[in-house]
Amino acid sequence: MPSVPRHLELHPPLVNGSGLLCFLEVFQHLDRQRAALGGYVTKSIGPEGRPGNVAPVVYDTGHVMLNSLALPTQPIESWIEDFRSLPVQKPVIGSVYGNRVEEWPEVISRVEAYVAGIELNLGCPNYVPGETSLMTVVGDSPAMMREVVGLARAATAKPLIAKLSPNTDYLAAARIALDAGADYLGCGNTAGPGLAIDIEAARPVLSGISGGLSGDAMRPVNVKMVYDIYREFRAPILAYGGVSTWRDAVEYLMAGACIVGLGTCFAYRSTRQMARLTRQIWEGMQRFAGSRDVTHLVGAAHV
């Protein structure tokens, strides 16, 4: 394994959350729209093409966003074709998952040449009814987590992010992930999960029955996750969850994150508005920090 710096150089330290924007041509377009994202994260790439759940797969209760996409992914060949034909200027992080332990390094070795880093999706709470939840199994099993991260570490010399669920014993999971060689912790995937019933239909709305919570309302859950993990490990953290203003991004920095991801805030916005939002967030962060470098804010809420 060559010794390379396992550090993501992202300017600004903002990315999209995996599963939002998803595809390389969307990243290209947001770049053209001058989005203030220092890098992009792909939709989670799995070992073989699958559609995930059928719609309804997102539901906005009016107070929180639920989704049960359940890891749709185009076949890995299509991803590779996209990597080859749709070059993105900014670093692209490949989010990956496997259904079985040995699939994780397989997927990574197929895509790692094309990406600046690998994010392991270890914490998606969604599933297709009837299937066993892929992620919950990994996220809840320390042994499997250790194995998966270890295999992933062996499969790439690039920065490795272990994206965890806020809904498990994340301190234990973070320790395992770091021990097994993760460079960054991703804090975190969607919260809950939750379930919404439409009372006129008298049934759950999402075809996946339940779905992960995202958006502003769940931010405190992931801020706590970042805060707790930073306090315990002082490890580099990529934070996701409910960021929609620069204040929210600063909150995550202060909790201990060094990179902040944006997701549900893109809802209902055109790509032009999304790009503008990222600029507003980045400008606000710099104004608050008093500089283009915001690293001095990282962990500032820890007394």
């Binding site: 939002l20 377009h29 719609a55 797969v57 006129e200 916005r269």
Partner: protein, 243 residues
């Protein structure tokens, strides 16, 4: 967050196309769309053809279920979503098949409309009489059962200060090459496979623009910079399929 309505009429437009009328109206700008949920059957994007109704053509399970709906049954809508047409007078409408449903609402809201409608046969020419009351209607059918025998593109070029097009993507692409209006005055409503309808899932990408929030209506000048238009789209898994 769904608005629920009750079907008051299910009008058969032709053997594979029906219009569902609701017990209430929805406010949407012409060209915007709704995600329509039928519990058990799924959720799909639809434009409204009327403030209180949508026209659907059977394309698979969901639209087949819409065909079977009876008065008294319910339908769940969330929206309106996306960017619609501008409300300007002097529109030339070009509709292909059920695509004309996506223009129907606009036709009622603008002055001096003119219509070019195309379809396989007379049955596919929707709202013929209603539109004739609003402005001149010219028709092309592939079998010649109504209007000229041929394609709607054969009726081009034609007048109109602005153009609104909705129909099969290849037909829309073909229209573009025959129109003489400035590209910024030509508006097309396009379709991509939509999962969320609100800019989250990315599946509706057309050359990186999200059809659900940037569109579904784009100008011809915008589409020029979207090479996937007329060429390919992402399916359920995200994989490409040719158009």
């Amino acid at each position: 967050m769904y608005e629920v309505c009750t079907i008051v009429e299910n009008r058969l437009e032709n053997p594979r196309t029906n219009t569902l009328f609701f017990d209430r109206t929805f406010s949407a700008r012409p060209g915007q769309f709704f995600m329509v949920w039928l519990p058990g059957a799924g959720e799909r994007p639809f434009s409204l053809a009327y403030p209180n109704g949508l026209t659907s053509k059977v394309a698979g399970e969901f639209t087949a279920a819409l065909m079977e709906l009876k008065p008294g049954e319910k339908l769940w809508l969330r929206g309106p979503y996306g960017r619609g047409f501008p409300l300007k007078d002097g529109f030339l409408f070009i509709g292909g098949g059920v695509g004309i449903a996506g223009l129907r609402l606009l036709a009622d809201r603008v002055g001096r409309p003119r219509f070019l409608l195309g379809g396989k046969d007379a049955g596919e020419i929707l709202y013929h009489e209603e539109l004739a009351r609003l402005g001149e209607v010219r028709v092309a059918t592939e079998d010649g059962s109504l209007g000229m025998r041929g394609l709607v593109t054969d009726l081009l070029p034609a007048g109109g200060e602005h153009v609104a097009i909705c129909g099969p993507e290849r037909m829309m692409a073909a229209c573009l090459s025959r129109l003489t209006q400035r590209p910024s005055k030509i508006y097309l409503s396009i379709e991509r496979y939509m999962k969320c309808g609100i800019g989250l899932c990315g599946n509706c990408s057309c050359s990186g623009r999200l059809v659900c929030t940037d569109g579904p209506v784009f100008t011809a000048s915008e589409l020029r910079r979207m090479p996937d238009f007329g060429r390919r789209r992402r399916g359920k898994t995200g994989a490409w399929t040719d158009i």
